[in-house]
């Protein structure tokens, strides 16, 4: 059975590209354009991993990650953001609510490899 990934970003193009590339890698990908959509999907079809943008229409990524942690405490969350932060800063401000952080300028291969790592998918992980 394919693993389920939820991509949350208010930019439809970003979500579309992530959905295409992760589907090619063999995952089932849902997309949410807002925190409200994300909450609904998390309730109805809990994902195995969430890719989260820091900037959202109705809230921010770190707040949403904290909220999701209350219902899914062990699920990996990968934070993607265009804001210039270092990993240390993210780690400090996220209170361990985020499993990993990557800048949006990272290559898709890097993002895919990080997804595989977080999912413990040894077949995919190089």
């Amino acid at each position: 059975m394919k693993k389920h990934i939820l991509s949350i970003d208010d930019e439809a193009e970003i979500c579309g590209i992530l959905q295409t590339v992760l589907t090619m890698e063999g995952y089932r990908v849902s997309i949410a354009g807002s925190a409200e959509d994300a909450r609904r999907i998390v309730q109805s079809d809990p994902p195995d991993l969430i890719i989260l943008d820091q900037q959202l229409e109705d809230t921010d990524g770190l707040t949403l990650a904290e909220e999701i942690r209350t219902t899914l405490p062990t699920m990996p969350i990968l934070l993607l953001t265009g804001l210039i932060f270092t990993a240390d800063v993210i780690h400090k401000i996220s209170s361990n609510n985020v499993s990993s952080y990557l800048p949006k300028t990272s290559k898709l291969d890097t993002i895919c490899n990080e997804v595989k790592r977080l999912l413990g998918d040894s077949d995919h992980h190089q």
Partner: protein, 396 residues
Amino acid sequence: MKINIVKVVFVAFGVMLVLMGVVAVIAVTTIRRSVATSDWVNHTHAVMLETAAILACLHAGEASLRNFILTTNKQDQTAYRGYFNEMREHLEVAKALTRQEPESRKRIMRIEELVGKRIDLAREVVRARELQDEDVARKRLQDDAGNILLAEINLVAKELADEQKELLRERDKASFLKAQATRWTVWSGLGLNILLLAFLGWMIRDDIAARRKAETALEEANLILEEKVQERTAELVKVNESLKKENLERQWSEQALDHQLRHSDLIINLIDEHLIIISKSINISRVNPAVVHTTGYDLPELVGNTMFKILDIPESSSGDATSALRFVQAVKEGREIQGRRGSLLCKNGSVIPVRFNMVPLRDQNTVVGSVLTVHLCHEIQQEKGGTRNLIHHFAE
């Protein structure tokens, strides 16, 4: 050289047909000859039988004649006449049979001649006996030269029979040789046909084997081709996937950069401070909205124009070189300037005193321009006359 099996088969069957025709003609000819030989054998035997019959009738007639001479019995007379008549008939038949055989006919004619003489003698004896001259008749019989005639007739008949037998042997031998030759011809033709059939069978079997081999080779080639097509298809799918990923990567980079740029623009545009970005030629390359708002110039009126259009730098107290020239030098050398006084020149002619800082703009350690952060100082006001002159100076 490639042999056309169809042509070979047609040629071989043609040869076989010709052989069969030749054999058939020879067989028919031989049968005709055999029939002719058989007729001739019958004819020979007929001649011999007629000769024998002539002799038999002659001897029987002679015996009856002698009895008649001795007894004058009418029955004997009738008997010898009957035998002699019958002998004549056989002579006629023999003559007819040897009509086309000169040698035999010659002998038959000789026998007829001798028989004629014998019959003449018999007539004389009979006439004498009929005249009641028994002694004369007996004497004639005793002096009968007929025995000589009879011996000669027997001799000629024997010669005729021998001749016929010899002919029969020769023709029988010739007939046997012809029959033998015919048998050889027929068996040879049959054997040759069987050989041709065997050759054709071998050729056809060889051709079928070659066709099967070619078919197998074709199937193998098709399999190899199919494998190659599958491999190539897999490669193309892989390449296509790679291209798709590259395309996605490019789109992702574009989106990420666009996002980053919009984010940076947003921050810059929201800053209250006046930002002026200039090139090493002191031309404005970018300003933030605060500058546009304060000076009253539209953005196209500023970008590409000299910075001194909106920022005046007053002379320093030392006076060895103009402040503007030192500023230009600092930009080119990539030096910083902190807290320098100046004036912001507005489109409506008003002049706003400012303090500004300047930091060099570097791209991979190369100075490409400078960034000026301008702070308004509302307490300082100046007239714009001198500033305009300075602008003209740098324009030149």
